[in-house]
């Protein structure tokens, strides 16, 4: 079945809230470079125009990962209590992926290229939503580490499984 790009885009990034269709909702509040191009890099490093553009593109894809996940409700009510929804994409992958391994190595001048939200931004805390959004980025571009311990491979396997499942739920 052929689906138009427009249909697919709206289908995967929109979600229902209070009876309305919301097509935005992701936030890159802490990163002012989302719509501007940044040449900021570590002293001694060079961030080329291409690198700057790629980082910003990746930041937007990371946010789209959040928006994709927002198609599902994160909490459900069980016995009159809010509990995490096991069918939410954030909750569908192994806890073993809550690490700083398995991501492509940081690029000098662009350390956030493939790990947009490392744990150091949250006082060394791993938030399942942020890890998912970075894995979404990796899944879109097929960019995971080829580390011998296989964490990158596990990220790829888990994302293939999650996205296959969730895209089938969204798309006819």
């Amino acid at each position: 079945m052929h689906l138009s790009l427009e249909f697919t885009f709206h289908k995967v990034i929109s979600f229902q809230y209070n009876g309305k269709t919301i097509t935005d909702g992701a936030c890159a509040c802490g990163v002012p470079d989302v719509v501007t191009v940044s040449r900021l890099a570590r002293k001694g490093d060079v961030r080329t125009d291409q690198m700057a553009q790629d980082i910003n593109r990746n930041n937007i894809v990371h946010e789209l990962g959040h928006m994709f996940a927002n198609n599902w409700k994160r909490d459900i009510i069980v016995d009159n209590k809010d509990v995490p929804n096991p069918d939410h994409p954030y909750n569908m992958y192994s806890s073993a992926l809550l690490t700083e391994n398995g991501w492509p190595d940081p690029i000098p001048g662009a350390s956030l290229m493939w790990r947009q939200h490392p744990s150091r931004m949250d006082n060394n805390t791993f938030d399942r939503g942020e890890v998912f959004a970075d894995m979404f980025l990796g899944w879109v571009f097929n960019e995971f580490a080829n580390d011998p311990a296989g964490v990158g491979a596990l990220r790829r396997v888990e994302m293939d499984r999650i996205m296959n499942t969730k895209l089938q739920e969204l798309l006819p």
């Binding site: 940044s38 900021l40 890099a41 570590r42 002293k43 001694g44 994160r74 909490d75 809010d82 509990v83 995490p84 954030y90 909750n91 192994s94 806890s95 073993a96 809550l98 690490t99 700083e100 391994n101 991501w103 190595d105 940081p106 690029i107 000098p108 001048g109 662009a110 350390s111 956030l112 790990r115 490392p118 744990s119 150091r120 931004m121 006082n123 060394n124 805390t125 791993f126 938030d127 399942r128 580490a145 080829n146 580390d147 011998p148 311990a149 296989g150 964490v151 990158g152 491979a153 596990l154 396997v157």
Partner: protein
């Protein structure tokens, strides 16, 4: 500049060097103290309670691993990891660089066969075995009251030669908790007794005690990108101990604290990465950097930013060895900020 300007040698130096965030009041378990040079390959002589019948052996061509069940997996693999598979570096978990790669396949197949996911985070173990032929590896996740000790083990083979090129291991510890909605959050810890209980043989003090003074020590204590202050972000301070003639390098990843024009870090932490290779091959720091990867750590891409310890502190490798061979100390190392870009 005087020596004391560079290293805090007061035992409880948290206030002076900003180490309070990693201090743990618990004493290091004595059982983590050593892998002796004479440790035999087999573990049948192990005297741990209830484990005397566990037999793990490795030979250059193959590895013999114990029978695992859902019930005993955590107990058996705790012992296996604790004893480094019954061998001494550069052999890692029973696999030796430069030797036949048959054991790697046996190792991967074994853990793939025994893959399991724990039912809870209280006392279980997750085993994630050999994921694919190109980037296979093994992840072992030990749970204890929502503390997660995670170990990644992998082997890189030499194409067509049938030999193991190098081995890798990562080890880290996390505390899991829930937010107000019950959603899971994991926090990286820099020290925890449960890590010591499982991977204590890879602690800084133990590595120094068993393998002696490193040939080189390289450090990197600064952020990868401008625009994020030390106060608001937690950047790594990496210490890499290179044992060139013994065929391994081990990295301790702590975090940097900026204070009075110095960058400070405490290397005695439970966040480690290790790579081993055939010591007959002449490898330098740049060669070895290619074996490492991770957001916080050494890699081929950032090796140029590391500097030898003695060039950016007043410490020699010998000084470092002398100070940190003592287990459980909280000494920190600092380097003038102006020594770095």
């Amino acid at each position: 500049m005087k020596h004391k300007d560079f290293i805090c040698i007061i035992l409880n130096c948290a206030l002076l060097a900003g180490c309070s965030w990693i201090l743990n009041p618990q004493v290091y378990p004595s059982e983590t103290s050593s892998i002796e040079a004479s440790t035999p390959l087999g573990l049948s002589s192990t005297t741990a309670t209830g484990m005397s019948n566990i037999n793990i052996t490795a030979t250059p061509d193959e590895i013999s691993l114990p029978i695992l069940s859902q019930d005993n997996a955590k107990e058996v693999l705790t012992l296996f990891v604790k004893n480094n598979g019954g061998c001494k570096l550069p052999c890692l978990m029973g696999l030796t660089p430069g030797e036949n790669d048959k054991a790697v396949y046996a190792f991967g197949t074994y853990f793939q066969k025994h893959s399991q996911t724990s039912k809870n985070q209280i006392n279980g173990i997750d085993i994630v075995g050999h994921l694919d032929e190109n980037s296979g590896g093994t992840l072992l996740v030990f749970w204890e009251n929502r503390i997660r000790v995670q170990i990644g083990i992998g082997a890189a083979l030499v194409d067509g030669s049938g030999k193991i090129d190098h081995m890798n291991m990562t080890g880290s510890v996390y505390q899991h908790h829930d937010d107000i909605h019950g959603n899971e959050i994991a926090t990286l810890l820099y020290q925890h007794p449960y890590f010591e209980n499982i991977l204590g043989s890879f602690s800084l003090a133990n590595i120094l005690a068993v393998y002696g003074e490193p040939s080189e020590i390289w450090i990197m204590p600064f952020p990868l990108d401008n625009g994020y202050s030390y106060d608001s972000s937690k950047y790594p301070f990496d210490f890499v101990l290179l044992y060139q003639n013994k065929g391994f390098a081990i990295e301790y990843i702590t975090r940097v604290i900026e204070e009075d024009g110095y960058l400070t870090g405490c290397p005695d932490v439970d966040y480690v990465q290790l790579s081993t290779w055939n010591p007959d091959e002449d490898k330098n720091f740049d060669d070895v950097a290619q074996y490492f990867s991770g957001t916080d750590s050494l890699s081929g891409a950032n090796a140029d930013f590391f500097k030898p310890l003695q060039e950016v502190t007043a410490l020699s490798v010998k000084d470092f060895y002398k100070y940190f061979i003592v287990p459980g100390n909280d000494r920190s190392i600092r380097t003038p900020k102006n020594k770095w870009p």
